[in-house]
Amino acid sequence: MTVKELSDRFDVQVVAGEKGLNRPIDGGYCGDLLSDVMANAPQGCIWLTVQGHQNVVAIAVLKEMAAIVLTGGHEPDPETVEKAGVEGIPILAWEGSAYHLTGLIHAAGVRNSDG
């Protein structure tokens, strides 16, 4: 599944980084402690977080992530939107909980190597 397909299928709004919408999603990760995400998120994953600080984009670039989803109605900082545009990392917005969206993505068949 690509980021665009996920966005269309589950009605997740795209708020930045549109040029990366064709990236394939190779797994998933949830976390708001960025040091943990940097250490443990799988390469190419989609990342669900409430953290809108600009550092999320740097970590997504480092991990070659497919996209970042800000859950629970959290919004990215203006610098985050700008950096996501430059790097081509899509940022999506989901009003509901990370738990709900994670369930939908997992049920759609997006898995990590450990499940």
Binding site: S35, V37, M38, H53, N55, I59, D77
Partner: protein
């Protein structure tokens, strides 16, 4: 004053004048949602210099502000304050644990190590802080904790401006004697 940013990073802001701190306090109070639940978070007693109880704060002082880290640092600097990222060795509420690294454009004056690890080895054991002046202090949230860690400064006078010079290592001032 120690402020919790909306990213849930703690940052120390030091001012030489009470008026500067009061301006920031008003700004913080304007962006600090919630009411304290004394049974859950404890009583927030306001006491005078003789420990006489004057009242109780109903604000949710344990909570995070709605202010971004960058906004807090910019505001403190504009008022002449010194900003130090608190307890950067801690996974929660420390800038490294919370944000992974210190953003390039964040103009903090230094970083603080908690009492848990020695200052001498901190730069080697915590990734991403070696370019910042480093201090240690007690992070005291109750009287018994005061003084459990401390940093010496070589200063011409006990002022915030002198501390800023010491953190920069300028004009013969320095951290650690």
């Amino acid at each position: 004053m120690e402020i919790c940013s909306k990213e849930e990073v703690h940052i120390l802001v030091l001012f030489g004048e009470l008026e500067q701190a009061l301006v920031v306090q008003q700004h913080v109070y304007g962006h600090l949602p919630g009411q304290n639940e004394a049974k859950v978070f404890g009583y927030q007693i306001i006491a005078d210099e003789n420990d006489e109880v004057l009242g109780e704060s109903s604000r949710l002082l344990i909570g995070a502000t709605e202010l971004g880290l960058q906004e807090i640092v910019t505001k403190a600097r504009s008022l002449g304050g010194v900003t130090i990222a608190s307890h950067v060795d801690r996974p929660a509420f420390g800038i490294i644990g919370k944000l992974g690294f210190v953003p390039d454009d964040l103009r903090i004056d230094g970083v603080e190590i908690s009492y848990r690890i020695p200052l001498e080895t901190a730069c080697d054991s915590i990734p991403g802080i070696k370019d910042f002046p480093c201090v240690t202090s007690s992070d005291a949230h109750c009287p018994d904790d005061i003084g459990r860690a401390w940093t010496s400064f070589l200063l011409a006078a006990p002022t915030v401006e002198e501390i800023r010079l010491a953190l920069k290592g300028e004009k013969g001032r320095k951290v650690g004697i």
